[in-house]
């Protein structure tokens, strides 16, 4: 955490419908995180985010209001900001449906609510720097959807396949390795790990891979 902390502070908006969780998270976040706004519903969130244009939005997946679309709906209404404002999804459920929906709507990463304030702060810095944040759980979902090494004929787009390296990185993250540990394990730099993860995220967001759709349909996500 100290390596990237070059006296830069981050403007953060907290979106969660539970006031208790918001205040707990505020107390937990590192000192370089400045909470510039809070919201508890979809409408409030969209208003606060468009007004404040923060660096990072910590976005709960389940939110009341709007058209019952939760965090993904907030993302869809803030697409014009996606270049400058990064979204990090928070969820208590860890369900494939929640996670994949917000990621495909444009979130740069996903963490479980039960992780520590320090880990969340770290994730915020990472996301603000343009990287993706994968929890082991999310890596597991990606492997489930893209994995299976089904290198059969129908894969024509580059988007539809993870490279071997990307699969390796995902597998290590799923095994509980931090980015740094992944880098050591594969004899590559942390920067390279980050770029692999970002590329996986891009594929996850853009791919219309047949299997991803089927996987999602199987799990009643789409």
């Amino acid at each position: 955490m100290s390596t990237e902390n070059n006296a830069k502070s981050y403007r953060v908006v907290l979106v969660d419908d539970h006031a208790i969780f918001r205040s707990g998270l505020k107390a937990d976040l590192a000192s370089d995180m400045h909470i510039v706004g809070e919201a508890g519903t979809v409408e409030e969130a969209i208003a606060v985010i468009t007004e404040q244009k923060p660096d990072v939005v910590l976005l709960d997946v389940h939110l009341p209001g709007g058209r019952a679309g939760g965090g993904a709906e907030v993302l869809k209404n803030c697409t014009q900001l996606l270049g400058s404002t990064k979204f990090l999804a928070l969820s208590v459920s860890d369900a494939a449906q929640d996670v994949v929906t917000v990621i495909r709507a444009g979130a740069r990463g996903y963490v479980t609510k039960s992780i520590s304030g320090e880990e969340i702060s770290d994730a915020v810095r990472r996301v603000a720097a343009g990287d993706a944040v994968f929890s082991p759980r999310l890596a597991g979902f990606v492997l489930d959807a893209f994995g299976g090494s089904s290198a059969v004929s129908e894969i024509d787009e580059e988007l539809d396949l993870l490279s071997d390296r990307e699969l390796q990185v995902m597998r290590l993250i799923a095994r509980g390795y931090s980015y740094k540990e992944v880098a050591t394990e594969l004899f590559i730099s942390v920067k390279t790990v980050e770029s692999h993860v970002s590329s996986v995220l891009r594929k996850l967001q853009l791919s219309n891979r047949h299997e991803l759709t089927r996987w999602a349909v199987d799990r009643k996500i789409l």
Binding site: A95, S114, G140, D144, G176, E181
Partner: protein, 421 residues
């Protein structure tokens, strides 16, 4: 004489025809044979008994239906062993015994019928004038009604499911028998030409009635469907409430009581979280014997035992391969070691590919050297490495001062392999 424990009026499972008599006997508290005699006596009075029997057959639910209703309202709340045993006993054993008693009764009934026919034949031979032209069609009608109506007790047809062919055949057979019987009886007193004309008239009347009553009928059917689905929703709500009560509320109560013990509170919350998550979002479509489910189960077991966080990520699923038992046991041992010796969270990653099932158990302890473990300690050497090798798999241990990772892999070889993607 309204006794409080009077049993519900349901058709009994001890049935000779449809279980009406048995149900009535149980409901009224009268010996079964009296009820049967009563029906027979009433039937002799111009067939009132038959009509009454038929009426009850259609409108009184069978014991199975009532039981299904009860099970639905019973919900999924966790039951004590005693309750469970009680239910099982009531359910299985009684109906089984009833079935055996039943079949002998049924044989007797058939025997009586044959005897009656024989007596009638004998009477005719002796010179009595028996109206066979009435008896045969009547028998046909009765048989047709029985054939068609017995399916009332066949399994309830699910909406959307296709009606099974035997059901339709039985319905058709019953219809032909009854109509044929009626026509045969009538043909004795009415001429054939008149009969045909009458048939056309009857057909016209039926068509007219159907046209008039169709909207009403469909509305009734739709109402029925709506009512049923709302009842299902209510049952589901009740199930949710029961589950939340038994799990979350109970845990919250315990947490309040033990609020001065942070470790216990944390563990309780964690266990409850896992349980609730499994219930809400779990892989309901995976079998209990699936390796992913088994590893998950072992992990939560260890969490409860040693108060450690164990996060299990599973990709793919597999079951029924040869070394599954050994793999799960070795995984448990590895998780147990990690939980005992290392601080912090334990990450477990399970991946099932076509040829291989791999498990990685990673902790953040200070590491150890296999050579440093005394010879007499069997944990790692026997329970993990030895066990995996005997089952045809492999175990590797990578340990450094930042943590230990145990890697298990087991080939997915089986004679008959079951997978569902």
């Amino acid at each position: 004489m309204e006794s409080p424990e009077r049993s519900l009026l349901v058709r009994s499972e001890h049935r000779m025809i449809a279980g009406v008599s048995g149900g009535l006997a149980a409901h009224l508290g009268i010996p079964l044979n009296y009820v049967r005699l009563g029906f027979i006596a009433l039937s002799a009075l111009g067939g009132i008994g038959i009509l009454l029997y038929a009426w009850l057959w259609v409108f009184v639910p069978s014991a199975e239906e009532a039981q299904a209703d009860e099970i639905r309202s019973w919900g999924t709340r966790t039951r004590s062993l005693a309750e469970e045993m009680n239910r099982v006993q009531q359910g299985f054993f009684r109906s089984r015994e009833g079935w055996e008693k039943n079949s002998s009764w049924r044989e007797m009934l058939i025997g009586c019928g044959l005897l009656l026919l024989a007596v009638l034949a004998l009477a005719q031979w002796a010179g009595w004038n028996i109206r066979w032209d009435l008896i045969w069609p009547s028998l046909g009608i009765i048989a047709g009604v029985l054939v068609a109506w017995l399916q009332l007790d066949a399994q309830v047809i699910k909406p959307g499911a296709k009606k099974s062919a035997p059901l339709l055949i039985r319905l058709g057979l019953g219809l032909v028998l009854v109509i044929g019987g009626l026509l045969a009886i009538l043909s004795g007193s009415v001429g054939v030409a008149d009969l045909l004309g009458g048939m056309w008239a009857a057909l016209a009347i039926i068509v007219g009635a159907v046209v008039v009553l169709l909207p009403w009928g469909t509305r009734l059917w739709r109402d029925f469907l709506a009512e049923r689905s709302s009842r299902q929703a209510a049952a589901q709500r009740a199930e949710f409430a029961a589950h939340l009560h038994d799990s979350v509320l109970q845990t919250l109560a315990v947490i309040q009581k033990r609020s001065e013990d942070p470790a216990a509170v944390r563990t309780l919350a964690r266990i409850q979280e896992r349980e609730l998550r499994q219930w809400l979002y779990g892989n309901q479509d995976l079998d209990d014997e699936d390796v992913a489910v088994e590893v998950q189960r072992e992990a939560s077991d260890i969490e409860q035992l040693l108060l450690k966080d164990v996060e299990v990520i599973a990709v793919g699923n597999a079951q029924g391969f040869d070394g599954q038992q050994a793999l799960v046991a070795a995984t448990r041992e590895a998780m147990m070691n990690a939980a005992k010796h290392a601080p912090g969270k334990i990450s477990v990653y399970l991946e099932c590919s076509e040829q291989l099932v791999e498990v990685f158990i990673r902790d953040r302890g200070t590491g150890f050297e296999l050579a440093d473990i005394p010879e007499d300690r069997h944990g790692v050497r026997e329970s993990i490495i030895g066990r995996m090798q005997r089952a045809g798999g492999k175990a590797e241990i990578r340990s450094s001062e930042t943590g230990t990772e145990i890697q298990l892999s087991m080939p997915r070889t089986t004679t008959q392999e079951e997978t569902h993607s």
